[in-house]
Each structure stands twice: as C-alpha cells, then as structure tokens.
C-alpha cells in the first residue's frame, strides 16, 4: 500500500516536471556538453610560445626586461647592464609571462651563482638560465588551468541561473530548493541569528578557558610559544635560505590553522551539537559560522603576536600590505564553503573525520607553508599548484603582500573568490536539501 503510494507520487512529480521544465533540462545537458567540449579545447589548443619578462629585485630598486618568444628560442649567454650592481644585494629575480602578477619562476638570491655571475655594472646569465626561460616560455600550463577555472565559473553560474529560472517559471512547485528561495532564506537567517552566533562564539571561547589557571592569557601565550618554536627551530637549527624565515612560516601558519580548524570542526559539527540540533531548529550554517567566529577571535590574538615580530625582524611594510585583505577574505569564504560540504557528509559518514584529517595533513605540506611553492617545485608543477590549490595560493599572496610589499596573483585571487562563493552556495544548497534527515541520523 505504502509503496504504491510513493510510486504514484514520484510518477506524478516526474510528469509535472517534464511538461514545465523540459526545455530547461535540455539546456542543462547542452551546458554540460559545452563545458566538456570547452575544457577539451582549452587543454588541447596549440597556444604559441610566450614572451617572458624578468624582474630583477635589488636593494636599489627593480628592473624589468621583456624578451619575446623568438629571442628566447635562440638565447645563449646574455648580460644585463645595471649600474653599480656589484655593490647592491639582489633579493630575487622573478619571471613572469603575460599575467604580470602571477610569478612563474624565481631565481633565488642564495642560488644565484648557479645561474649568473656578477661583474662590474652588469649581470651575466649563463645557459642554465636560458634553459629556464625556454621552459617557461613553452609551457602554457598555467593559462590553460586559469582558463579552465574561468570556464568552470561560467558553467556553475549559468547552471544556477537555469535553476533560478525554473524556480521562477514554476512558482507553485513545492520543491523549495531553488537558488532564489535558498539565498533569501540564508540571508534572513544570517540576520536573525547574527547576535546568537557572536554570543555563542563568545561563550564557547570563555568555556574553553573557564577552568584554566592562566585563563585568557592562553590566547596570547599559545601563538607566542608557537612562534618561539619556529624562530628557534627554523631560524637557528635548520638554517634556511629564505629571509625572515620565522615570520615567513608563522604568518602562513596562522591562515592554515584557521582553515584547518574550521574544516575539522565542520565534519563533526552536527554531531557535536546533537543537543541543539535534536531539540530546536537551527540552520546548520549558524553552528559553523559561530565556530568560525571563535577561530577568528583566536586568529586576531595571534596577529597581535605577529606585529612585534614584523617590527623585530625589520620587515619593510608598504601600502601593498593591504592586499592581504582579499587573501584573508578568500580564506574565510573558502573554508565556509568547503566546511558546509564536509558538514553534510560528516553527518552520514562515521569515519570521514579520519579521512579529512589525513587529507588536511597532506594539503598542509602541499600548500607551501614551510617553503616557497614557486622555488621548491619543478617548473610546470609550481604554477599548477598555485592555480589548483587555493590554500597555497592565498598563503603565497598573503606572504608576498606582508613581507615583500607585492601585489601578486590578482587573477587567481579573483577567480577563487568567485569560485568559493559558488562553492559556498553549493554547500548551502546541499545542507538545506538534506538537513531534514540529520536529526533522524545523529
């Protein structure tokens, strides 16, 4: 009996949908096809070799020279004249392609003798450097990846737009999971629960230290001693060629800790809040955002430790430091979006927290917290990592802005900001669609 009724209902729904949204469904298939074809075209299209610009960053200033692809093909030992170069210190030499904010390769100052010799008023680059030029000119990997990401954005955007359209066309459809409805719901819930989220974060923070001896001082002490460890271990014990290595690692770890904690929490979010979830209706993102606010409080305390570090190690700070804001913004939105998706799967899958733990551990070492992605990885791999791994990218961007006063990775930041907003929407959509079942499971 019951079974029959369910069948009947399903059939009825299908018929209705077919009549009213058939065209939209067809459009979706077409879109999917277009996306696949687009990706194939982007991956296989024979792009021509690219010109390379070289930026020599010295203590006296920077000098930029561009070489066309033909020049690079027949390149042999060459020299660049910079007055008084032998008395300057060279910080680093960066190579760029057309996108003049995404660095494709770096010649490290410490290893400069491998690539060039200094003479009076000029640098002579050897054949090794020419080989690096040729490699970077030939590989079109990065642009292909960036174009694919742009295509992905367009695809997702149109897909959501089509869903919104079908929601508009069929307003009496009882399936209230269209984008317009969900986004409205999300915004109104954020407004309604805003006070609660901050309050809950605040009380949780108090609860964490309520019975400890040093109380709130821990929020400062923990990052401070962390920092001390990095200064001693990486600065003294394991001598490293990167300048200001302690600051370099510490600033990256702050971001990583936030990301790591948020994702780890999101997996167990619903289960940890079983008491709440089974007794009242709470939008699940409220629980996640409340935890993110808590993590952000702690991050701010760590930033207090970072500031004296910048002063002690005499980091030159300029207006470029403002570029850390989009990097942090990306970190927050991305961890929210990914967190919402993990939150959903974490409810149903028991051992996901172990798997996520391992994945995060791997991601940590792939994201260049302890090293520079561009220098340490071989040539096509380093830019790939920067394009594909947003964590590596926002860390690299933040460090360049903070320590070198450089605005870098502009197109990548923009792409990933849009992508992470879309991912957040997808996460919200999944959770709204399934949250009915959560109470029955936990």
């Amino acid at each position: 009996m019951i079974f029959l009724r369910i069948m009947k209902k399903r059939k009825g729904l299908k018929m209705k949908n077919k009549g009213q949204t058939g065209i939209l469904n067809a459009l979706k298939y077409l879109l999917l096809l277009g996306f696949v074809i687009g990706i194939i075209v982007i991956l296989l299209f024979p792009f021509s070799n690219q010109p390379i610009s070289m930026v020599i960053d010295t203590s006296a200033g920077t000098k930029e020279i561009t070489y066309s692809s033909e020049e690079i093909q027949n390149m042999h030992e060459f020299s660049i004249e910079i007055p008084n170069i032998e008395n300057e210190t060279i910080n680093e030499i960066r190579l760029y392609r057309k996108l003049n904010s995404v660095c494709v390769d770096k010649l490290q100052a410490g290893n400069l003798f491998l690539y060039a010799t200094l003479e009076k008023d000029k640098i002579i680059f050897n054949d090794e450097t020419c080989e690096i030029f040729r490699q970077n000119s030939k590989s079109f990997f990065m642009e292909r990846l960036i174009l694919s990401e742009v295509l992905l954005i367009v695809f997702l955007f149109i897909w959501i737009l089509l869903n919104a359209l079908s929601e508009k066309i069929d307003p009496d459809n009882r399936n209230n999971h269209g984008p317009i409805y969900e986004i409205k719901k999300f915004i109104s819930e954020i407004k309604n629960y805003g006070v609660y989220m901050v309050f809950a974060a605040n009380t949780d923070l108090k609860a964490e230290v309520a019975n400890s001896y040093l109380n709130r001082l821990w929020w400062l002490l923990e990052p401070f001693f962390n920092m001390l460890v990095y200064v001693i271990v990486f600065g003294r014990v394991m001598g490293n060629s990167i300048e200001n290595y302690a600051t370099y690692v510490f600033s990256a770890l702050l971001m990583w800790t936030f990301f790591n904690k948020t994702i780890n929490y999101s997996v167990k979010c619903v289960r940890n809040n079983r008491d709440i979830v089974t007794k009242v209706y709470v939008p699940k993102h409220v629980l996640l955002i409340s935890n993110m606010i808590l993590n952000f409080f702690k991050l701010l305390f760590s930033l207090i430790v970072l500031i004296p570090m910048l002063i002690i190690f005499k980091v030159h700070i300029g207006i470029g430091i403002l570029w850390i804001i989009p990097a942090y913004l990306l970190m927050i939105i991305l961890s929210f979006g990914a967190g919402m998706i993990f939150l959903h799967f974490g409810v149903y899958i028991d051992d996901l927290s172990y798997a996520v733990g391992i994945l995060l551990q791997m991601l940590m070492f792939l994201s260049g917290i302890f090293y520079d992605v561009i220098i340490s990885l071989p040539t096509p791999l380093n830019t790939m990592m920067l394009c594909v791994n947003p964590v590596a990218m926002f860390i690299d961007t933040m460090r360049n802005a903070l320590l070198n006063n450089l605005v870098t990775n502009v197109p990548l930041i923009v792409i990933w900001l849009i992508l992470s907003v879309l991912v957040s929407y997808i996460g919200i959509h999944i959770v709204y669609k399934n949250e009915n079942g959560y109470v029955k499971v936990v």
Binding site: T203, A210, E435
Partner: protein
Amino acid sequence: MSNNVALDVKHVSIDYKDISHMSLAKSFRKGEIKKSNIVRAVNDISFSVNQGEILGIVGRNGSGKTTLLRSVAGIFQPDEGTIDTYGNRVSLMAIGIGFNGNNTGRENILKSGMLLGCKLDYVKEHMDEIIEFSELGDFIDRPVRTYSSGMYSKLSFAVTAILDTDIMLVDEVLSVGDERFRKKSFKKMEELMLSDRTVLIVSHATDTLKKFCDKILWINDGQFMRLGDTEEVLAEYDKFMQL
C-alpha cells in the same frame, strides 16, 4: 476561548531512512544505501488545534509521538503533508538546549533562550524571573558542570517555562527536581495551560492528561487511531493497553 485555529496538521507522514552511521567503505557500495529500508514513523496523520486548546497525544512507546512533536516544532519537515502554525512561535519543551557545562548558568540561559528564538533583550528582561523560578540562588554564576542533576533540570525547565511561546510542545518533562519543585512546576504548567496558550502534551500519565487536556489524539505504530473527547479516547486507550 477563541476558536481560531492555531495549528493545522494535514496528512503528515514522516519516514526514517535506515542509513544512519555509515563508514566510508559502505558509502562507496552505493547499492546498500538505495536498498536501505524506509521506516514510516508517522503515517498520514491529520488534526488541528484551536488556540487555547490543550491536546494530549498518547500511544505506545515507539509509535511516533516524539517524531510528530519534533516535526511540529520544525526540527524537520514532514516527508508528506503540511504543518501550518499560522505564524505562531512553537517551542519544544526539552531539557538543556545547547547547555555547555563550562559556562555559568546565566550564560547558558541566554544561549538557550536565543536558540528558542527569543531576542537577546527579551531573555535579559526575563533573566531574574528565570533565576528565581529555578531556585538556584548563587549557583547561577557557577559553571553548569558543578550542578547536581536536579539543579540542571530545574534550570532548563525554568528556561523553557518562563520563555513561553505561542504553542508549547511538552514531551514528558513534568517529573523534574524534588517534590517541592515538582509541585511548583506542576503549578506553573497549570498556570500556563489555563492561560490562553495552545499546548500539545505527550504523556503516559493518564491522570495528568485527564486533568489538563481538552482532547486526545491516539496514535499506534504511526497510524491514526482516535481523536476526540478526553474521557472517551482515554478509556478506549486504556482498554487497548490492557494485557
């Protein structure tokens, strides 16, 4: 007593899918999820409650009473059918919503109150009332984990009793604390129920139901059995429950 309908439940059915707690390995074998047996906890139940009315829900253990209440409270949507609360605020009376043992009683009252859908200022206004009702005295500023279990229940009962909503759903929470507090909470419940408030009670205590309820809904294994006058339905229910 006005005759406005406060709550309307129409043909509500709720399924439980037996997919709880999978491991990663299981989730890759997709067949198992699809075959998972669906259990119908509540099947095609309809009733409506007028404003100011008190409805008792009876039934054997596991017959879907709590599930129905949770659904009315909006914790999850029914799989079929509709629940219309006509804009009334609904709250499920439950013990210790969102309590954190390391926070003080005061902080927990605020947090719990906000989760029940009250504004921060509103909870603050009623703070003294709650503290007085809970009889905790100085303990209110100590961490909740230091409370005895009786004190804990007293506090959480006080929160839900004072911060009342338009429609109250009560799920067997009348036996809280010591004899004195029980009498007090019983009195409070009486007071609440005699005021113009809509209440749904789930209980096995027929005495309590006889005292308060205007009508009784009887469900058995998720199926609708009877809805009607308190005395009649309870008499039939008692007969049914005899061995």
